[in-house]
Symmetry: C2
Subunit: 243 residues, 2 copies
């Protein structure tokens, strides 16, 4: 079975200026793996129409899904929705469901707020427990940038996604320098092409080592590869700690 793929398109000057630390990418990568959807790429672009439209059109042609975050509020720097419409070549249309939700909120409906009720023709709402809906158009999901709202929108979108075989991971910490075990690890990776072995060095309280992570869809195989890693590190004189 082919796994669905995904790209995250993070929209917002605040991420590139260093003002805001993005945390949505990590959340989406983690959750998509559980659904068997492989996150292949992420891009961060500024609030510039051409940059957004071009990145969106490139990515939606390339991956099963694109998830955008950010830029769907009422202020002048929120331009994601109109850029999505432009990328698909469709007009924006006032969505009565969203207008009704706004009315129920009791806050005054003004031109700025109505901007959030205009979505591209053909889009389906992604209702959620946290805010006004996000939406899906074709293979593109348009989410908020605020993490709590983005997460609620993702939960709302899950039933709309084709799933793959969940991508599992197992890991063990090895207290050796990477240069000491790199060759043996490469041989191990060669013997197990169906898993992906990653080595992520760390320095914990002055103790150098690496987290060795095995990813794949077969839980039993992950366990066997971890056992082999433990044997390799132990034979090289290193301690290991299963995590």
């Amino acid at each position: 079975m082919t796994q669905p793929t995904a790209c995250v398109l993070i929209i917002g000057n605040e991420i590139l200026s260093g003002k805001t630390q993005d945390t949505n990418l990590q959340f989406l990568g983690f959750e998509l793996a559980k659904l068997g959807i492989r996150l292949e790429e992420a891009r961060v672009v500024r609030d510039i129409p051409d940059a957004i439209v071009k990145a969106l059109n490139e990515c939606r042609a390339k991956y099963t899904y694109v998830f955008t975050t950010g830029g769907i509020g009422p202020t002048h720097d929120d331009i994601t929705i109109e850029c999505v419409a432009q990328a698909f070549g469709v007009p924006l249309e006032l969505n009565e469901t969203i207008v009704e939700m706004m009315k129920r909120s009791g806050r005054p409906i003004n031109e700025a707020r109505l901007k959030m009720a205009r979505i591209p023709r053909g889009a389906a709402l992604v209702e959620n427990s946290a805010s006004l809906p996000g939406f899906r158009i074709d293979n593109v999901f348009v989410f908020a940038g605020i993490p709590s709202i983005m997460r609620a929108m993702f939960v709302g979108a899950v039933p709309m996604l084709f799933k793959g075989t969940p991508i599992l991971s197992a890991s063990v910490d090895a207290y050796l320098r990477e240069g000491d075990f790199a060759q043996a690890l490469e041989e191990l990776q060669r013997r197990h092409p169906d898993v992906e072995i990653g080595s992520y060095p760390f320095n914990r309280d002055g103790k150098l080592g690496a987290a060795l992570v095995v990813r794949g869809t077969d839980r039993a195989l992950l366990g066997r590869v971890i056992d082999e890693i433990v044997a390799i590190i132990t034979a090289l004189g290193g301690e290991t700690k299963r995590s």
Copy 2:
């Protein structure tokens, strides 16, 4: 004066799988702004040669500088250096300065470690206080993924960069909903095309509001725009707090 531009290329499955929270992008965005270099884009790609080479070639043609992070260690999943060489169409060459540094470390030199001493022909070392050097080739800087080492490499690279006019920012917190002030803020942005005004909503202990951030190169102008924002929010009945 035209400001130099930059792109950050984050290389590593661990960022896309959700295993690791990237923090290098925020650091680079913040530091580059201080140097007057505008970070225009970031991409995160997996440890796949084609993906890395293609992204690197696209981005280095488009921006003044590209900074890559990750994938320069000794293990099999560290493939950034060979991909950079491939993108530039140059061979890897053993760098004697790095070999000497390795010898001085006292650790055994093996094939895996020597991988870290082979850099693309024509590259210049970026020496630093934390580790073996990173390197620069043409407009591309190749840095480690471990944040402490990446930061040290950036410090080593600063003297090699063309600077622009520092991009400054000022901000004020407004305790109103974005929909209440969006129209007035848009008019303000229109009157001040030389600054970039961003609105970033927050919910702090149940109090809703937005951080209003003004960015530009003229400190006096930033101050005047912040004053105007305070006047706007106050006239709409909202509290403000300078930050």
